[in-house]
């Protein structure tokens, strides 16, 4: 059996993206013994995922501060279970970690929302952030044609990034209408940092065609995607490509919060002024409390870090900035809410649950998530409905049932490394 490593922290932070970095740094600067655990090979989360060999530049200040404050960094470790209050278990390459904490900060970020359409399971059809992550992890993209599609500000960031790395972007398809995008631009004008980012983006994207009210209707190809049919202003057109990078805005990673019993509403973790959840001593910062972007994640992380670190009063001056950014988050929500037509994208034979290959027509026979899951195996695969859950939520209006450990698949032996002292009674046998 692989060895278990035990560690104990005043403040433990799950997630090493911007929110987690800010939280861990601020808590450590309060003089607490802090640990940050993240499942990626390096810190940075999605936006600051280090490019191969060098740390992304905007993040460098935070790394330096984090190091100076003396926080412990545990990368490549994925939290999968809370066997008893104030203990988390994580899976790491060299064996499981048992992490005790006094205060916990959840900064588990967000993932892309994927919607099924014919051909979306072909190789080289990826998430927009998904392809970007692969390129950041070493995939050469120079000279490749990438159609970027779906919804949300991420599409522009990804297109700019890919182009910078030599990709050709025939088109960006945004499902939201020009009308809602204009509202979004007006809101951007009230955010100086965002205006600067916006101008920079426009320069990077100059000359790329951008279509609003546009979305992929199907992806086609023999062994991998070769072309994508897009709907643009009510007409279909075929665009040849090497990759389709497609994601429909973001959904929060709130599974860990749910496992710990934190109150959620519409999948968002509910927090008080100090980012504390409904469970005392457990805080949450960044995307799980609402999809709001980098600056909001940072300020929420700082507030959570200060509060968990015992310097709550120092967090108060940050409330105003957070409020301003939350307004922007609400605009984001409105702008990129999904149009009803997208529910018609999957054909009856289109696979919706990719782990178990469950088609749309099989799901359509059921009236609830639980019935569909029990009868078709939808959501029973290793992604544990992280992909098909949000999709069926949109397609059929289904809410998912309760969360159970492990929240990520883990090695069998990792589930038995923890045994509460009190439970050491005789083992007796019987049939199942």
């Amino acid at each position: 059996m692989s060895n278990i490593t035990r560690d104990q922290f005043d403040v433990l932070v799950v997630g090493g993206g911007p929110a987690g970095l800010a939280a861990a740094t601020c808590a450590a600067e309060c003089g607490r013994h802090v640990g940050v655990v993240d499942d990626n090979p390096a810190l940075g989360g999605q936006i600051w995922r280090g490019e191969v060999g060098k740390a992304a530049s905007e993040a460098v200040d935070w790394y330096a501060r984090l190091r100076a404050a003396g926080a412990n960094v545990l990368c490549g470790a994925r939290v999968f279970h809370q066997p008893e209050p104030e203990v988390l278990l994580a899976e790491a390459p060299d064996g499981p970690l048992e992490l005790k904490y006094k205060k916990l900060i959840l900064a588990t970020g967000a993932r892309e929302r994927f919607l099924p359409f014919p051909g979306w399971t072909l190789p080289n059809v990826m998430g927009a952030g998904g392809l970007q992550a692969l390129v950041k992890s070493g995939l050469p993209i120079a000279g490749k044609r990438v159609v970027v599609a779906g919804s949300g500000p991420l599409l522009l960031a990804v297109a700019a990034y890919l182009r910078q790395h030599g990709a050709e972007i025939p088109i960006i398809c945004e499902q939201a209408s020009w009308g809602s995008l204009v509202g979004f631009s007006l809101a951007l004008l009230r955010q100086p940092q965002k205006v600067r980012q916006g101008f920079a983006l426009r320069k990077q994207l100059a000359g790329i065609s951008f279509a609003a009210s546009s979305w992929p209707v199907s992806a086609r190809g023999e062994r991998a995607v070769e072309e994508v049919v897009i709907s643009q202003s009510g007409k279909n057109k075929t665009v040849p490509c090497d990759y389709l990078a497609c994601g429909f805005h973001l959904v929060p990673n709130s599974e860990l919060a749910a496992l710990l019993g934190c109150r959620l509403r519409d999948d968002l973790v509910q927090v008080d002024d100090y980012q504390q959840t409904s469970v005392a001593g457990i805080f949450c910062a960044g995307e799980p409390t609402g999809i709001g972007g980098l600056e909001l994640s940072l300020v929420e992380g700082r507030i959570a870090g200060l509060a968990a670190g015992g310097s709550a009063p120092a967090a108060k001056p940050l409330f105003a900035e957070r409020e301003k950014l939350r307004k922007f988050a609400r605009v984001l929500d409105r702008t990129f809410s999904l149009r009803a037509e997208l529910r018609g994208l999957p054909l009856p034979e289109t696979i919706v649950c990719r782990c178990e290959d469950v088609t749309c027509s099989r799901l359509a026979q059921h009236t609830s998530w639980r019935a569909a899951k029990l009868q078709t195996r939808c959501g029973m695969g290793p992604c544990q409905a992280r992909v098909c859950g949000p999709a069926t939520g949109f397609l059929f209006g289904w809410a998912q049932d309760s969360i159970r450990p492990p929240i990520f698949p883990t090695r069998f032996e990792n589930l038995i490394t923890f045994s509460p002292e009190a439970e050491r009674s005789e083992i007796t046998g019987g049939r199942g």
Partner: protein, 81 residues
């Protein structure tokens, strides 16, 4: 740029940029990651450890999330599950 390293994907040696993930090596090798339950070939989707489409056999171990594992020299990757 760190030195490229060599791994094996389905028996064929391949140089990948140092620090690249196994998912990148698989895409570079022109392979798909896995066969789905009904036999479709699949490649990475999310790039961040969520979707499990990038599962591959790494050094004999089944069901590894290749997008969150960095290539090590001499690693043996199989995608014909």
């Amino acid at each position: 740029m760190p030195e490229p390293i060599t791994v094996t994907v389905n028996g064929t040696s391949l140089a990948v940029p140092g620090g690249a993930t196994v998912a990148v090596a698989i895409v570079l090798a022109g392979a798909a990651c896995r066969k789905s339950v009904t036999g479709e070939t699949r490649g990475p989707l999310c790039g961040m450890g969520i979707c499990y489409e990038c599962r591959a056999v790494i050094n004999g171990q089944l069901h590894c999330r290749s997008c969150q594992i960095i290539c090590q020299p001499g690693m043996e990757v199989r995608t014909d599950e």
